[in-house]
Structures are given as structure tokens and as C-alpha cells.
Symmetry: C2
């Protein structure tokens, strides 16, 4: 199974890419520009080589979408629509994990404020944009901070909430998430729950700012998930 990170050159995508490469996964880092992907991947491979990773591969987003079996989208909200349109054709029938969080930064506001959008979540928006390409969208990685991902090899003591309308796609998402030490994947239901997941991120960002951290996350308590 090949994993393609669309917009993988930013801290979120690259953090996921490195963690998964270290876990032994085949990961392709996508960018609008192949050249940028190659440069970023070269540096990243050098940086993590002591952890015996599978080598990261760099490609243009469209090529990454074609070559990968599962896609992870890690672009800012304002780039979500344009980016998905470039990969739509090559993403047909595949699973896409969407990490996009609607934040007021998208319109020049504070990063700790949610942005209210229509449909009510970035994940539903992705599904709408990808409609008729039979892409199975799963909201995932929205609650995991890039600083935590970059803090290799420390385990990430956080739960990663996911949701989506395709059971098999969510199982694939959970398998990928739980390859990263510490992360626990929790399926909270259908895709229309994504706003509940996405609205936790500005809360965590605001807490990070207030309490001078970069690692804010959470563990669900009181529920037995077995």
C-alpha cells in the first residue's frame, strides 16, 4: 500500500510523512511543484535516516494521487478546493484522509478561531468537491499537532478522532494512524460529525498559545473502545 500526502511539503503533511516512513510505510510527498517535493523529501530523508525509515519519495500532487492507494490531504482550507480539483481525476475510487481544519487564518483572522463554512466541515466540503469521483473521504489527523509529529521519535499521547461514511475506508485510516506510536484512532461516526472533530483544533491551538505549549492534544476517558 502506497500513501500519498497531497500538499505534503508543509509541517503537517511532512510530519505525517516522516512518522509513516519511520513506521515502514511507502510514502509519497506531493507538492504543486515536483521540484519542491524532491527538495523537501531529500532533506527529510537525511533528517530521519537514523530511524531506518522507508525512503520518502517526492512527486507533483497529481502524480502522487495517481501512484498512491490512499491519499492524505494536508493543505490550508483556502487551498483545499483548488488542490482537490487537480487530483480529482487521479484520485478516483480511492480513500482520502482529510486533515484540513477551517480556521479564521484562511481569511486573515486568528488561528485559534474556527471558521464557519458551508457545508459545516472541511471534510464534507472535500467530499462535495470530489463528488462523482467515488472518493471515500475520512476526516483524520485534524487534532494532531505538527510539533508533536516532528518530535521524533517520541510517542504522541493523543487520540485521533476520525469520521466518514465508508467503514472500510475508516479501517484503513485507523491502521495508518495507529502506525504512529502513541496515537489511538477513534471512529466517532459518519462524515457529518466532522465539524465536531474540526472544532477541537482551534481549542487546542488556543490552549497551546495560552499555556505556551505546542503539544496540546487529548485522550478520551470513560469509554471502553474494545
Amino acid at each position: 500500500m502506497k500513501i500519498g500526502i497531497i500538499g505534503g511539503t508543509g509541517p503537517q503533511g511532512l510530519g505525517i510523512a516522516k512518522r509513516l516512513a519511520i513506521a515502514g510505510e511507502d510514502v509519497i510527498v506531493g507538492s504543486r511543484k515536483e521540484e519542491k517535493a524532491l527538495t523537501v523529501v531529500g532533506e527529510a530523508n537525511e533528517e530521519i535516516k537514523e530511524h531506518n525509515p522507508k525512503e520518502l519519495v517526492g512527486m507533483a500532487n497529481e502524480d502522487a494521487a495517481a501512484a498512491a492507494d490512499v491519499l492524505i490531504l494536508t493543505v490550508p482550507l483556502q487551498a483545499q478546493s483548488a488542490t482537490l480539483k487537480t487530483i480529482k481525476e487521479n484520485a478516483k475510487g480511492k480513500v482520502l484522509l482529510d486533515a484540513t481544519v477551517p480556521l479564521e487564518t484562511a481569511i486573515g483572522g486568528p488561528v485559534s478561531n474556527p471558521l464557519h463554512i458551508n457545508p459545516g466541515s472541511a471534510a464534507e466540503r472535500a467530499a462535495k468537491i470530489l463528488k462523482d469521483a467515488d472518493v471515500k473521504v475520512v476526516a483524520a489527523f485534524n487534532n494532531i499537532s505538527n510539533s508533536h509529529l516532528a518530535n521524533i521519535p517520541d510517542p504522541i499521547e493523543c487520540d485521533c478522532l476520525i469520521c466518514g461514511d465508508d467503514k472500510e475506508a475508516k479501517e484503513i485510516a485507523s491502521d495508518i494512524i495507529e502506525k504512529i506510536p502513541g496515537l489511538r484512532s477513534i471512529d466517532i461516526g459518519p462524515l457529518n460529525k466532522a465539524h465536531l472533530i474540526e472544532s477541537i483544533t482551534p481549542l487546542l491551538i488556543g490552549m497551546n498559545i495560552k499555556f505556551k505549549s505546542h503539544y496540546g492534544g487529548f485522550r478520551i476517558t470513560g469509554i471502553d473502545f474494545e
Copy 2:
């Protein structure tokens, strides 16, 4: 310090009342009807007596608001405005902890769906209704399940997020919250953050339903709050 629970005859208010009484606090349980408050309090005192509590006292909401120094509001959203209007005069200058969560149940929808209101949170709505009565509103107890509260004497392994615009009021809220074993109070900022706290509740309710629990809560990880 006397604590008055406005709408304290329901599971949330009575759960808080019992826990605080066991912690040795002076607690008044308020109701629209004094008689109902007295009946409920009689049963509750009987039920918790083995834990050596301070005796709970029952009153009409207005009288509870007058007699108490700090108020906790635990009524459904659809009763919030009417209830606050009845106590407004007697609540002047006091601290009010608002546990109200905007859920679609208020309009006959599912309890696991948030209801979008204007202003964007029940706590800000309380502040608006109480405007010119100089009441210091703190969002609190929104994320703590009544089943957990009722599960006496087990500690409640949950964080209780709070927010508000008055520092001293939030300190009072935290002191009260942390009287209940297990609970940790986390101040996430001003009252306009309340929607972030309140939207976690339908997430937890949905998870409780999906995973057959009643005790869903969370602990923030990765942040040092000292």
C-alpha cells in the same frame, strides 16, 4: 460560601449538588417549585448520608439565588432565558457558572447534535440575558456527564474546561470544580470561547451512544498547566 444550583432538581444539577455536599460545601438546590426542591433534596440527603455530607437545602430558584453567593445554572437551553429572568434581580453582582449546552434536543432533534445559536454559545447568551445585573458568567460543568456525577464516590477522570471574562470568578469556579474528586479545571480564556467548550458535549454524547457508555469525558494532554 453558599452555592445555589438553579434548576438543581435534574440529573446534572443534583449530581453537582450531591458531589459538592459530600465535599463539605453548603449547597442549595433550586427549583421552580419550592415543594419539588424540598422533596428532591430530602431523597438526595438520604441517599448520600453515608458519605457524611453537609445537608442539602431546597428552595425556590429565586430564593436560592438570593441566599447563595455563587450560582450554578443547570437547566435545558429552552429554559435558560425564562429561568435567568426569574433570578436576575437576586443574582445581582454574583458569580454564575453556566452548564447549559445548546443541543438539538431543545427543538426536538437528536441529543448528539449541537444547536447553533446567536450569540454562539449558551454562556454568552446567559451573559446577555443578565446584562446590567453585573453577574460574572463562567461556562463550567458543560463537559461532565451526569452519570459520572451520580457515580458516587468514584472520582471523575475528566477535565472540566471553563471560560469567562472575570478572573476572580474563574478562580471561584475552579475551586468549586476541583472539590469534586478527579476533576481538573482548565481555564481556556474569555467567555467568547464558550462555543468551543459547549461543542465538545454533543461529541461526547454521540460517543457514549455509539460505544455504549455514560462516562465519556477527556483529559487534555501535552500541556503543562502549572
